[in-house]
Symmetry: D2
Subunit: 282 residues, 4 copies
């Protein structure tokens, strides 16, 4: 399949939004050649941001993970996560009480930084739950699925509180050969069982792109037609970028297998402006 | 709300199909007065069968649970479970290999009785799974949700095998105040994550009613218009019975709250022929 | 792709269930060679039935269409249509009043034969609709979509009556290059807008297979493992046959393109026992 | 049910976003007392905008409809419609070619103002459709449903082009007793039949709120906690406002019946900050 050259395309834009998983890193670590790519962007004064469906940690911890692998170009200010949107929602709309959460303590830590009190669902006493003002689904780890998912359901039967899903992904790769269910799929199951409407943050929802755009405007002033979204997944990165009104590039280094890309574009009707093998320079 | 008298209605039929949970028993044990009801049926020579979405045990064990509570009228031959349909499917369509299952050993025991080999998903070795010929979802207990649900997903990525859901219920009551997620909801989550089409057994699917009807014809010869389906849930018992072409009665002793029954019938368009408070005689 | 030989497979069974469209006929008429196939079946004393999602006409009219094209082997007694199931439902469950319908007069004619009165939705007076006891969706033709779909919706807001969908197909081919929306897709739209639960008849629902099986037992006595279902669509013919517990054959003469068959089987997990190019003898 | 007083609540905010239908107007014309309400807002220097899922006309024509009924406070600059978002998308992402549309000529007129060429689906020649660069679903009127919906489907089988749904509503009231299917429900049907992913604009999607907010910032500078969203529908106005992070008020003058409001809030988990009978001053 004929693909575009990343560097040639990149130079037509002033800002690039990158998805993280499948674009910059994968189950083995950094994708080959990405360090050179970020060097190239710096030399050509192309600004960038990383848009990631991740609420397991705050931006500082996410950036630190890149640094440890030798990619120093991505600092906390460059990262926009679905967890940041969830946190903003809680700041504006919940304000008080205690947040029950499904996730690790690390994922709750970032939420607590805005002054809200949190409690892991496993520590909730259902018979004394009047203080709980919202339920937040942060991460698929850090709780006992056998007990705590049912506990979340029974909490929602007792208390009519908003439920915030801070990562809408259904699954994620844990190695070359294995995937794991992400908290977004657990959220779908709970939502259907309780029959309520949850509030979700993360690509493909356009709020993710608006948040990134507004965040970006604090440092860079660009129009939408000067931004390119680069992602490996049609149903999140590409449809989301398209709907937001920016150009989009599908890379074949992650979720979308090269031999199936054209067929998928044809069957879904989700059409990127460009297709590249990866963001590595040739 | 004006309701019908169970005994008066019952005498118009030769056979009654009963749902189990919310009709005959609930979280506290037998529903008040049901022993008298089954005595009444016997005196009036009204035949009955229990149709239950349950694959946690075989009919003998299910009957035994009634006997222990003092209800001796319900023996194994009177019980039609979704597990029986799943077993019949496996008998006709799988025939060989090993069945991986999510559920308790007790739930697998009933399947093994037809000569198929089973293995709990927790004991499956993914790197040596060629022998596995189907995945069966039997019960929400007996496995570690954190590990084994992901293991089921990775098995389905390796092996293109049929997946059988032996109980389609999404939740069940564990006490007056608590519910738990049933294996049907777990099945929905897994199906969506892997993107495949599972085979489901249980009400409201009409196969459950056909199976019961054919099973019944071995001992009783009746026409469909001589059968009444009695259940506490519009979306399983009543719509299923209606579609199968038999008369239906909604009882208010379980899932459907008396004050909401009329509204629910109106909003869903699922219309029973009769409404009774319970199957207890007045 | 390696495929099986129809004749070789067919001889292993005593009865074959055929889907109609894409198996026996297509937009151009009869599929090449099917006349010889039915001659072959007769010579080998293999019984057959045609299972079709069609409520546009009764079996006699459907059979007549084959006769006109020179295929005389298929008479009315060989045809099982979803319209027959809808008619049986109405006979058992509605019994009286007037049936409003969406479809042609020809489609209503078959329903009227059981003694029920019908009225096209276009002739319904919404302010005088107390007589209407059910709404039946029969065919995509015979009414004015701009007016009559809204009229059906407003009827369902006034009258809490059962809604029967006599053909669940979403679309059908009208020529080599064109498809048209079938009444099943219109039913889905109306159901979602009114928020009620409709009663659907047609493959892949197992009721279609039970009905055919029971119908067949009037003339032939066979076990399920002596029956083969042959169809061109994984999501109706094959999954339906599998769930009913009979062997299944996918043919590549209709909906399923030969080059995509293996991929579709792999991604859907719907697995036929056999794959043949068509039912034509080689 | 205890409700709040609109005027008391309104004075706590600097800007109010109003839904149109069921809040300002209904099937009979303006809702009683709204003229006084807009006078009150002006006197108290409370800014307002109207957020409406409507792509049938441009803002000038929508404003004109209020003027004709005597409400002069709402001019074109106060109206944010889902059609405006669709137009912005087309401006950024389509740029060239001809837009096929389902809707009236009036609805297309507003799109043409940005320099794009349009063609009603009824005038499209499927055998010569290479020029068509997108399909836009604008309004439920202006086309022949029997022919043109199928034509749209066949166009999408030939051309892999983006499909834009400019109004996601499923239905709308045409009189006290009648509703009609809106283009959003037709879009859902077409999307399912063709199996592609469409791009939708309109509440509850947060893009509608972002667009309104950015539009508003051109004239008024306020923080999110100074804005109140007022609507009659939990599933569009209230969940959308909540997710965007602003306070919300449910009014009982439209879709949500007063006697069901509390039950609906409880069952959906969509919780407004306030409930008022209407926006009329007491």
């Amino acid at each position: 399949m004929k693909t575009n050259d990343f560097a040639t395309i990149a130079q037509q834009y002033r800002v690039i939004f990158f998805d993280a998983y499948g674009v910059i890193k994968n189950a083995h670590g950094l994708i080959d050649g990405v360090a050179d790519t970020f060097q190239f962007l710096r030399e050509h004064q192309i600004e960038f941001f990383v848009l990631t469906n991740d609420a397991s940690r705050g931006p500082a911890e996410l950036a630190n993970a890149y640094h440890k692998r030798g990619l120093t170009a991505i600092d906390a200010g460059k990262i926009i996560s679905s967890g940041m949107l969830a946190r903003e929602y809680l700041l504006y709309k919940v304000k008080q009480g205690t947040l029950a959460f499904l996730g690790t303590q690390a994922s709750a830590h970032y939420i607590e930084a805005i002054g809200l009190k949190t409690i892991s669902i496993k520590d909730v006493d259902l018979s004394d739950s009047e203080e709980i003002s919202a339920l937040v689904l942060l991460d698929d780890e850090g709780f006992d699925w056998n007990n705590d998912i049912n506990k979340a359901i029974n909490l929602l039967r007792r208390r009519n509180i908003p439920v915030i899903v801070a990562n809408t992904d259904e699954r994620y790769p844990v190695s070359q050969d294995h995937v794991a269910i992400a908290i977004g799929a657990v959220a779908d199951m709970i939502e259907r069982v309780v029959g309520k409407t949850f509030i979700r943050f993360g690509k493909p929802d356009s709020q993710m792109f608006h948040f990134a755009y507004e965040h970006m405007l604090q440092t860079v002033h660009v129009r939408k037609d000067q931004i390119l979204m680069v992602g490996d997944t049609l149903t999140t990165d590409i449809i989301g970028g398209n709907k937001f009104g920016i150009d989009t590039m599908l890379v074949l280094s992650g979720n979308t297998q090269p031999e199936k890309a054209r067929l998928l574009i044809r069957t879904t009707g989700i059409i990127p402006n460009f297709i590249c093998n990866s963001i590595a320079l040739r």
